[in-house]
Structure formats: C-alpha cells, structure tokens
Amino acid sequence: MSPQRASKVVAEEAGEPTGGRLERLMATKEIIVACGPGGVGKTTTAAALGAEMAARSGGRVLVLTVDPARRLADALGMGGLGNEARQVPPEAFAAAGVRPRGELWAAMLDTAASWDALVRRHAPDPATVSRILANPLYRNITGRFARSHEYIAMERLHELRAEGRYDLLIVDTPPSNDALDFLDAPERMAEFFGSGLLRWLVAPYRSRLLNLASRPFYQVADRILGTEFLKDIAEFFLLFQQMYDGFIRRARGVGQMLRDPATTFMVVTTLEPAPAGEALRLAGELERRGLQLGLLVANKALPASFEEPDATRVAEQLVRHSAELAQAMAEGTTRLPAALSDPARLARVLAGVGESFSNFRAVAQREATLLEELAEVHEVAVTVPHLARDVVDLPGLLEVGRHLFAPPEGARALPARRSRGGRPSGGSRADAPGGDASRPPRDAPKDA
C-alpha cells in the first residue's frame, strides 16, 4: 500500500525533520503514556510506536493496552487475554519484512486480576486477603467502578517499571469519560482511604456505638440504603483501610513516576473539531500538572495536496467544464482507453472527481485550522495519513510506526510549536535565527 504523495513535510526547525526529533525524544524516554479522546486510534498508535521502537532500537518494548480491537489483539498475540505479557514472535516481524533489533512484548490490562494482586500485596495477612476477596462489594467496586480501571493502569505501570524488565513501556490509557482521570486516580484513592470522613463513617460499625454527631447521618443513610448495605460498605472499608499505608506509598510512587524526566505523554487525536478540542484541553491539563507532553499525533490526516491552488483550480474546471473537457479529450490524436469512449460517461466521471476533491478540500481546510491550534502545544508532532485499510496486524502497525518516525512525502506539515516561554520541557527547541523562525509558514516548501 502506498502512502498518499503530494508534498514534503516542513522541517520543524532549522531543517531538522520531525522524524529525527521523535527519534531523539524517544532516546531519552522509558515510559510513554498515550492519552487522547476516544475513537482517534490511540490504541493503534501506541501499539505502532511500540512495534516501530522494537524494530529500530535494540531494547525490549512492552505495550500495555487496555481494550484493543480483537483483530489487533490477535495480531499482537494477546488473543488469550490475561495480565501476562507475551512476546510478539520475531517471525511475525519477519513476515512483515522487518528484522527487529529489539523485542516487542504486549500485555493487556486485566482489571480484576490486577486488583486481586494488589490486595494480596498490600493486605497484612492471608485472612484479610480472603475476607476482602469474599466481600460482595469488592468485585462490584473493582469491576464496575470506572476509576478503578484508571487506578489499576497506573498501578500496573508502576509495577512493570519497578520490575525493570523492559527498556520502554508504552501504556495506552483506558477509554475514559474524562481522559485524564487516571492522573488523579492514585491520589484520589489515597485521599479516600485516608479520609477522616471514611473513618467517621465506619466508626459506628467498629465500636457499635453511635455518637450523637453521626446519628442524623445514619438515620438518613438508613432510610436511603438500608442498614445491611451500610454494614457491607463499612466492613469493606475497614478491611481496605488496613492497606492504607501501602496505597499511600504507591500513589506517591506513581506520581513520581509520571513526573520523571524519563516519562512523557503522547496525545493522539484526529483533526475533527471535537477530538482536537479535547486534545487541546488535555494538553493544557498536562501542562498545569507539570507533566511533559512530548508527542502529539494527528491521526488520519488528509494529505496537504488538498490545499494546493493548482489542484484546486483543476478540480473546479473539472466540475464546471466536464462536458467540454470530455469532448476535447475524445478529439485527441491517440485513442482513449475503451472505458472512456463514451463522452457522457467521461464527463460524469470528470465532474465526480472534481466534486469529490472540492468536498474533501473543505474538510482538509478545517483540518489545517485545527492543526494550527494544536501547534501551540506540542513538542514533537507528527501526522499519520488515512491508510488504505484498517490497521489490524503487525505490518499495519509497522506502517503507522514508519509514518511516525519518517512522515512520507505528502504528509501534512505541522507547524512548530510557538514559543511560550518559561516552560521547562524535555523536547529541545533550538532557537532558529531570523524573525519568527519558530513558526514557519504552513505551506512553505511544498513541492517535492
């Protein structure tokens, strides 16, 4: 499958290609956290980055994914599910025509199993472990409680990092109502289990004495939920509180890990108003939290050729003068292919081609505007074009991976990040000489 060709990528600064900057960024990173709005190809991009890194670098790469499309999971050898990391067989790379320098491993996040492991690790004794695991609320909480996924994703990441078995960890964050929930999850968890309010809530069940202050609350709660349910809750938290210190320690560890210079975030988006707006918001949130947004990926971007004036002019002519053009083509000295012998049909096709171009051009222009807005926030940014087919196997992932590192001719150029000053970051931004050189015109060197 061939990528769309049209024009050359604008080198981000001083002639340095985006691919080179990504390579340099990746050289200093050990953890990549992929985040972004739903439906933009986040999982695929995370897996593609992993596959490409395994192919080009000598290390061991693990992609920890949450809920991959089934065919993609099969392609990565994760068909059997489970928390166990598995290596993508080198033969799969060979079949894709690539000899990997490193290893690609993949694991899926099994929330329930990870919670059980967490309880086993932090609970003071086996009796507590079995009481927690048997509590009716426990499964409910760990299985259904949305934020528990986010918490456990960070927890797993921390564990994998501590094990030290991988050179690069790429984690795909859970599809979330709020894509950054996972950042707060460890802290919120710790806060929750350490709160005085929780102690106050469970106190009566511990002492069997209702104090005067809490009585009105229990009367209300009783009427809403019933005593038995409250007791279940209380017991659950009493048990869970014993793991409090472990939680706190871990939450702090996770926070440190995310702020570590070896960690960077990757925001993936498409160039549609809603996802791009969400991506911008995410970028702002990351900055507010002092976390590094190292890489921005604009997925499924239309090629830059849609904005070329010559092509636009041709498309307009095709629509406006389709009949005359068809006639003129038929009158040439050499014979046209048989399929084009009917001038009416040829005219229809010419008009259709022109119409289609104009339609997509409108979309491409909206994309361009969004790209300019996104240019505000990224360190390294790349676009991945619409590919000929869905990415569901290793060759597909490697193709996306190649686009990430070396955008083909015709990939849309991303303007460099505007200097906003002051913010420390891992992505180097050399000051290019001369005027507002940090931001070259979008359509600078276009023709190949």
């Binding site: 439906g39 089934r70 409910n140 809530l201 209300v220 549609e272 041709v314 050499t334 040829l346």
Partner: protein, 324 residues
C-alpha cells in the same frame, strides 16, 4: 416495534468520537419540530451539548433552547440534592450539605449509586411527564452497560429502603420497550462497528433495556456507479491523465497541470478507498442488526460538521430516514 420518537426515554450511545452528541442534539431538535416537548441531557457535563446548539452553557436546570426544546447537563450532586429534597423532604441546602458530602463518599464506594442518581433523574423526568421525550447523550459503549445496569445491580445489593423502591420503579420504566430504548451510533469503521454490535448483543440481557435503533453516521457517498468506476480507473491511467492535463493546459501542456491532475486523481482514489473500506463495515452492521431494529444512515457532512447548521441537517436526514 414502537416508533423511535414515540418512546419517552432514549439513550444515545456509541464508541467515543462517533457523533453521539450531534445525533442526540438532532433527535431533540427533530422531536421539538414535530411538536413534542423534548429534553436533551448530556450525561457527562463537558459542554458538548451547548457547543452543538451554540447556546449558553447547560447546567442541571434545563435550559430552553428553542420552542419545545430543552437542554441540560447531568450533575450528580445536584441530582442527589433534588432527590433528597423530593424523597426525604430534607428542607434546605444548608442541611443537605454535609450529608451530600458524606454521600459523595458512599457513592464513590458503592458503585452504582452515582449512576443511579443519573439514570434516576432521567427516569423521574419521564415518570413525572415533564417532557414528552427525554434524550440522553449517554456514556460511550465501554461505560454504557455499567451505567444502565446500575439499577439492576443496586436492586440486588440493596434489599430495603428508599433506594430500593426507587430502583423498582426505575426498572419498570427502563425495561418497558414502549417507553425506553437505546440508539447505538457507529461510524463505518472497524472498532465502532465492533463495539456497536457487541453492545447490541449484551444490552437487553444485562440491562433489560431494549435496542431502539442503530445509526450509521458519517457514511460517505458513492463516488461512481459500477460502470463509471471502470471509467475512472481508465482515467487514472498514465496516458489518460496526460491527455487530461494537456487538454486543461491548452496547447502547451505544463508540468504544473500534470502534477495538479495527479493530485486530483489521487484524491479521488483516497475517497474511493475510504468509502470502500467503510462499505465493508456497513455490510457487517446491516447483517448483524436484528431485522426489526431500524438501521438509519446519516451522510458524512463535508460542510460544517458541528453547530446548529449541522444539527439541523442531521435532524432533517433523520426525519427522512424515520419517514416523518
């Protein structure tokens, strides 16, 4: 099967990014234009609904968007406050304050309590007949079952008390296909269709709520008919391209024209390829959706895809698709 807009409560779900909000907003607009009193509620208050209608930021208190059309954003705390006021006759916000705070913790701890406040508020609007139709821009497919199954789950966990009786009447509304239904939105792509089909398969069994419609969004038009496609392939050949470039440039065919023709032809190829890829997924969708469930098609909007104009266009297409 009850016609879509004759129901009282519609949940619009789908994989993230497929256009749920646009479609929920359009369904509301359509219902209102048919003379109904409609409430559209975004379950996750992110301002997407006010962006769609270009109205002021929606809150828990429904906002009148236009004649017969109201919009709100869910707010579980406000919902709890309202619930306590209505059910327990707790008088002032001041006294509810600390209880709400404590309840917040219980809600965090006991899964489903938060969801039940969301779904409960919507069911309550239906029960009280404040609106003819309540449309929910609901959670994405991944979270949807959890949200909608909460009343069932709570009903199993909580045996007595006010919550129990609330879930009882909620389940009555939710499980009545004449009143409540789910619209699943998918775009013609691999994962959105997979998630739509998976949800369609699990929906009734796990939540008791009926599937009301499947909506295929952003369907690309067919560029050429069968014979014309063959002609396009011929046109895309080198000699025909050159001829076109020469004809366009007049006598002295320039290189610029050749490049421009190439770009335009390649763009058409891209359009055909994207459309063809999508068609496979649409076929899969069509073949797997139960025959009695309407499958509605909405075209890709090349013009503006957001804002009131787009909402109006989608509403008009939905009206045609529904035969309104």
């Amino acid at each position: 099967m009850t016609p879509l807009l004759e129901r009282r409560l519609l949940f619009v779900t789908g994989k993230g990014g497929v256009g749920k909000t646009t479609i929920a907003a359009a369904l509301g607009l359509l219902a209102a234009s048919l003379g109904k009193r409609a409430l559209v509620c975004e379950a996750e208050p992110r301002g997407a609904l006010s962006a769609a209608y270009e109205c002021e930021r929606t809150g828990f208190e429904p906002l009148k968007v236009s004649s017969g059309l109201y919009a709100m954003s869910m707010d579980t705390e406000a919902s709890l406050r309202e619930y306590l006021k209505l059910n327990l006759r707790l008088p002032t916000a001041g006294r509810i304050g600390p209880v709400a705070h404590a309840f917040d913790f219980v809600a965090t701890a006991a899964p489903g309590v938060r969801e039940i406040l969301t779904v409960g508020k919507l069911c309550w609007e239906v029960r009280e007949r404040h609106y003819d139709l309540v449309i929910v821009d609901a959670a994405t497919t991944g979270h949807f079952i959890g949200e909608l199954a909460a009343p069932v789950g709570i009903n199993e966990l909580v045996r007595v008390g006010a919550v129990r009786s609330q879930t009882d009447w909620m389940l009555e509304i939710l499980s009545d296909p004449a009143q409540t239904g789910v619209c699943i939105v998918a775009t013609p792509e691999e994962t959105p269709v997979n998630e739509a089909l998976e949800l369609a398969g699990r929906l009734e069994g796990e939540t008791g709520v009926a599937l009301a419609a499947v909506i295929a969004n952003r369907v690309l038009p067919e560029l050429f008919g069968r014979g014309d496609e063959e002609a396009f392939e011929a046109l895309a050949g080198t000699s025909a391209r050159r001829r076109l470039a020469a004809v366009l440039a007049g006598a002295q065919g320039s290189r610029r024209d050749a490049a421009a023709v190439d770009a335009v032809i390649e763009a058409a190829r891209l359009a055909i390829r994207v459309r063809r890829g999508g068609a496979e997924h649409l076929t899969r969708l069509r073949e797997s959706v139960p025959a009695q469930v309407p499958l509605l098609y909405l075209p890709y909007l090349f013009g503006r895809s957001h804002g009131p104009r787009a909402i109006r266009q989608v509403a008009d297409t939905l009206a045609e698709e529904l035969g309104q």
